[in-house]
Symmetry: C2
Subunit: 143 residues, 2 copies
DNA sequence: TATAATTGAATTGTACACAATCTATTTTGA
DNA sequence: TCAAAATAGATTGTGTACAATTCAATTATA
């Protein structure tokens, strides 16, 4: 008869491998991110600004699934580094608008190699990558 | 011609969906973990102790991919809650051995429902779950 | 139209995560 | 055998995450 605690084993969980793989990949990123002097969180924030050029904290939070409690200090750090600017919207002073500085824009060219370098580390088949992508998107929709 | 910055878009990354899904699932866990008064990290630590009954910090770190900098404070918290005991090994005083208290053992019966409750939230097909599990394990091996 | 409700960020407090360093204990090897 | 190397945890410092609260600006409504 099956152990009634079987479900409590780490190996049988779905969440734990996700949690562990996610953390380990971020750790693998570190040497490449060090080259551009960004943490992983700072990197994904920059990815949003690189793509949009002009974003409110609210919009950014929706894209990254992060709230102002996390974003405010990260954005202040990136501003101190001279990569972005934070200004209140004139139409609605509640909105804080994030824009790229020339220095932030320049960094985009240095960052462009990072995804490929990471891919090289991962050693995952294109099929697996595609499949994983699809499943993760499906999960995200249900959440 | 394709945008040379295409690779820098969040949607085209593999790491970001992993990071986001992992965080969102942990957040979904929260109401169920609140019922047993554990955080997610405390929960996975307890899962190791429930399975092994007697583990060193080193072994636990290997299973959870966490170092002593993370585990030491978590273990101290769990000790304060009366769920575990921390004692130095007599054979080798460098090793700290974690064991279950009766109260910690009793909690296992309350926790046994959590994985099923979570599964109910997730709404993922058994096929997807299996496939995801396999891919994540394959990635973990290459890391 | 004044006030209440809502909204978007910032702040506060708690809890990880992890690199780097430190300390005590054990093991090695000249 | 005894000093050097290795090992296991603890500590320190930085940077997220996130819930809960606060605050200022805007919108809705009685």
């Amino acid at each position: 008869m099956a152990d009634k605690y079987q479900c409590l084993k780490l190996d049988n969980q779905l969440c734990f491998p996700l949690y562990a793989v996610s953390k380990e990949i971020v750790r693998k990123y570190k040497p490449f991110l060090d080259e551009v002097d960004l943490t992983y969180t700072q990197y994904i924030v920059m990815m949003v600004v690189w793509e949009d050029e002009k974003v409110s904290v609210k919009e950014m939070g929706k894209k990254l699934f992060l709230d102002s409690g996390t974003l405010t200090p990260v954005l202040k750090t990136l501003e101190k580094k001279g990569l972005i600017e934070r200004t209140r919207s004139k139409e609605d002073e509640r909105n804080l608008i994030v824009t790229l500085t020339p220095s932030g824009k320049a960094l985009k060219d240095k960052a462009v190699d990072i995804p490929a370098k990471m891919g090289g580390c991962l050693n995952i088949s294109p099929d697996d990558a595609m499949e994983l992508h699809i499943i993760l998107h499906r999960i995200m929709e249900t959440l």
